[in-house]
């Protein structure tokens, strides 16, 4: 029996629930605009080592040099005014280990978003970032005792420099794209995680990224290393209130799965409609390792995100499962990158996009299997759902397979929820929003089943809220 994804009372929740912000007095504010001074400011506040500052400045040069990818992505990128963004805002306090010590307005923010509650009920550890820095960071004792490190990036750099430095910028080089360069120049916050060999972390670690300020850019940097035979599930959630002005979120996430390790990285983002969300995510899978991205993109003005896996060791597996929902005025430009670099590597991409009203979804896939390898497999499925005729969807799968010792499969479909279908559902008593939610939930149902229970409920609720909002 299929799981029930329709319960009416969840749709009644106030759809503005993440739309609030507090007037916080920031101790540190790098001010508007970006220059070497911005970097000096950040480095000084953080008290960073010189090599990091040098790394940042070099990255800034790369950022200046790189062209905006408007030619293949979206002209809308030109609306970002880099001079009218603040690159660093913080209260100047170290992340707290107890919610009691977190400043009131930040604590309240995360309470309203339900974070401490989730932590108590099913998480192994939480990091809660407020603008540029973590306000709270804690990992349960039992997990820490196994040697698991879960801190923010600054702490990781300061206290675990040997492991950090070894992998930092290695999975995603600074010059990968303009926004990875920008992140490399001004990064702050994000998680550093190390799981020692053989440790299977039972419950997920969660990071929560909250933007509280207008005309602000959040540039978290996450590096996760899961050592031989170890396993980890990590989840991130992101929200921001609705502002009139542009907000920028540009993260870099690097994952390293050593031999026989498994990493599952789950994102549920629910950005408000003025956020440019330009994120670079990639995992490196060693021999027999598995990297799995589960990526749900709801909201934002423009999201550009193509999680990737480089399968470097024989028998490695990579997977991207993504759901993107583009409502009126939104563009979800998402996809996956699968780089096969060893024999008998397997990748799987399942992408589902939903476009509502004027919303626009684009899928860009890249699968690369070079000629000298053998026994590689790829499966790619992209399905698009259009709700009403104005929606737009494009698919650009690029599958480069050289040699004949491989197996690849590609399927794509586009389906429509027409006015006739909505009319039919309404005739049976469903409101328009319920009818749309039912269609959308039905469409993504098989993917949602891949999620941990708590997150599938949350995702379903977000879809309901989004549909509710779209009929106004």
């Amino acid at each position: 029996m299929s799981t029930d994804l329709n319960s009416r009372n969840t749709i009644e929740i106030d759809r503005e629930e993440a739309n609030f912000h507090y007037d916080v007095k920031y101790k540190h504010d790098a001010g508007m605009g970006l220059s070497e001074d911005t970097i000096d400011y950040i480095a000084n506040v953080k008290g960073e080592e010189q090599w990091i500052t040098d790394f940042r400045k070099k990255a800034l040069g790369v950022f200046y040099k790189k062209k905006m990818p408007t030619h293949w992505a979206s002209e809308d990128l030109n609306s970002i005014n880099f001079d009218e963004i603040r690159y660093y805002l913080s209260a100047g306090e170290a992340p707290k280990r107890s919610w009691d010590d977190v400043p009131d307005e930040m604590k309240e923010t995360f309470e309203r978003l339900g974070i401490p509650e989730k932590e108590r009920s099913f998480l192994a550890g939480v990091e809660a970032q407020f603008d540029s820095e973590a306000a709270y960071s804690n990992v349960k004792d039992a997990v820490a005792e196994q040697g698991v490190i879960f801190v923010n990036s600054s702490e990781g750099l300061a206290e675990h420099a040997d492991i950090f430095r070894k992998w930092f910028g290695k999975v995603i080089p600074t010059g990968d794209n303009k926004f990875s360069a920008l992140n490399s120049a001004v990064f702050s916050g994000g998680s550093f995680i190390y799981v020692p060999p053989g440790v299977k972390v039972k419950h997920p670690l969660q990071a929560y990224f909250r933007i509280n300020s207008e005309q602000f850019g959040q540039f978290e940097r996450t590096l996760i290393i899961v050592d031989e035979g170890a396993e980890l599930t990590y989840m991130e959630g992101c929200t921001a209130p609705k502002f009139e002005t542009t907000t920028l979120h540009s993260a870099v996430v690097e994952l390293v799965a050593m031999k026989d390790a498994k990493i599952q990285y789950i994102t549920v983002q629910n950005w408000s409609a003025n956020v440019f969300n330009l994120v670079t995510k990639r995992g490196l899978a060693h021999e027999n390792a598995e990297v799995r991205w589960i990526d749900c993109n709801i909201g934002s003005r423009l999201t550009m995100k193509y999680p990737g896996v480089v399968m470097k060791g024989a028998g490695a597996r990579g997977e991207v499962i993504s759901i993107a929902l583009a409502n009126d005025g939104q563009h979800q430009d998402t996809g996956a990158k699968m780089i096969h670099a060893a024999d008998n590597t397997t990748s799987n991409v399942v992408s589902k996009s939903i476009s509502v009203g004027e919303g626009r979804s684009t899928y860009r896939g890249q699968v690369h299997i070079p000629k000298h390898l053998k026994g590689c497999k790829n499966n790619t499925e992209c399905d698009a759902l259009l709700i009403n005729s104005k929606s737009r969807t494009d698919t650009y799968p690029a599958i480069t397979v050289r040699g004949n010792k491989h197996s690849t499969q590609h399927e794509a479909s586009v389906s429509q929820v027409s006015e006739e279908q909505i009319f039919y559902m309404k005739q049976r008593g469903l409101s328009e929003a319920e009818a749309m939610s039912l269609s959308v939930n039905g469409f993504v149902n098989d993917l949602v089943r891949e999620f941990p229970m708590e997150y599938s409920v949350e995702l379903k609720r977000l879809i309901d809220l989004e549909m509710e909002g779209s009929v106004g």
Partner: protein, 252 residues
């Protein structure tokens, strides 16, 4: 008060008037048949009552137990007790029959109340059995890839699950072979009660042998040109619609 009452209804689509002053009263407990040639406006009447956006009501009104339906949105009309079995039911990809029915039932409950899932499934399986619908249809997307006959049976299943006050069946017989027709008719007959009124739209008298109406109306060019007892359907079958159309000409 306990009637579905259509009063001097004028409705047009794309500026062309299709319904030209149609009046009809279907009290609870009765089955009314609506017959008429292709293009006479039968489906238009059904869709106007349900509130389809393509149709503009010029004047007149439709009352369900005294409440004007035209003021209500499509889903409100449904929850108020109006059910339309479509001539051409839509396909809803990705939404299973079971989830769809469950959502429709849930939509009828007050806030905060949840349907009893076990009882719901039991009831659904029972009703499916009555209609000869295989259990595996619960997991299939609504109407997707169904044959014409399967779609029509599914419409009747939905009607049985939603237990409306008034049901309008638009050519539910088309696409059914004689065995399926009998099963569907049995389903409808089982639902006939003092608490429910039916408007059965059909092109052929065949269906009316199995769902015996209390009254028969003939629609032509957007107006009812003749009403009578069930024998009228037989007469129509013999003489065709032209006989009545001519009569209409003579009268006017």
């Amino acid at each position: 008060m306990s009637t579905l009452e259509i009063k001097d209804l004028h409705a047009s689509v794309n500026g062309t008037e299709i319904l030209k002053g149609l009046s009809l009263s279907v009290p609870k407990g009765e089955v009314h048949a609506m017959m008429g040639p292709n293009g006479s406006g039968k489906s238009t009447l059904a869709k106007v009552m349900a509130g389809h956006q393509d149709y503009e009501v010029g004047s007149g009104d439709v009352f369900l137990d005294g409440k004007s339906l035209l003021e209500m949105d499509v889903d409100e009309r449904s929850r108020e007790g109006l059910f339309l079995a479509f001539q051409y039911p839509a396909e809803i990809p990705g939404v299973s029959n079971a989830n769809f029915l469950r959502a429709a039932r849930q939509a009828r409950l007050p806030d905060g109340e949840e349907i009893d899932a076990v009882a719901f499934y039991q009831e659904m399986y029972d009703k499916m059995a009555k209609l000869g619908i295989d259990k595996k249809f619960t997991g299939r997307s609504v109407n997707e890839g169904f044959s014409g006959g399967e779609k029509k049976r599914n419409e009747v299943l939905q009607m049985m699950m939603l237990e409306p006050k008034y049901a309008v069946l638009d050519e539910t017989d088309s696409g059914l072979d004689i065995d399926a027709l009998k099963i569907v008719a049995q389903g409808v007959n089982a639902m006939r009660s003092e608490e429910r009124g039916f408007l059965v739209i059909t092109h052929y008298q065949r269906l009316l042998e199995h769902i015996v109406p209390d009254h028969v109306h003939v629609l032509n060019e957007g107006r009812i040109i003749r009403s009578g007892p069930k024998e009228l359907a037989l007469e129509l079958e013999e003489k065709g619609y032209d006989w009545l159309k001519e009569g209409e000409l003579v009268k006017s």
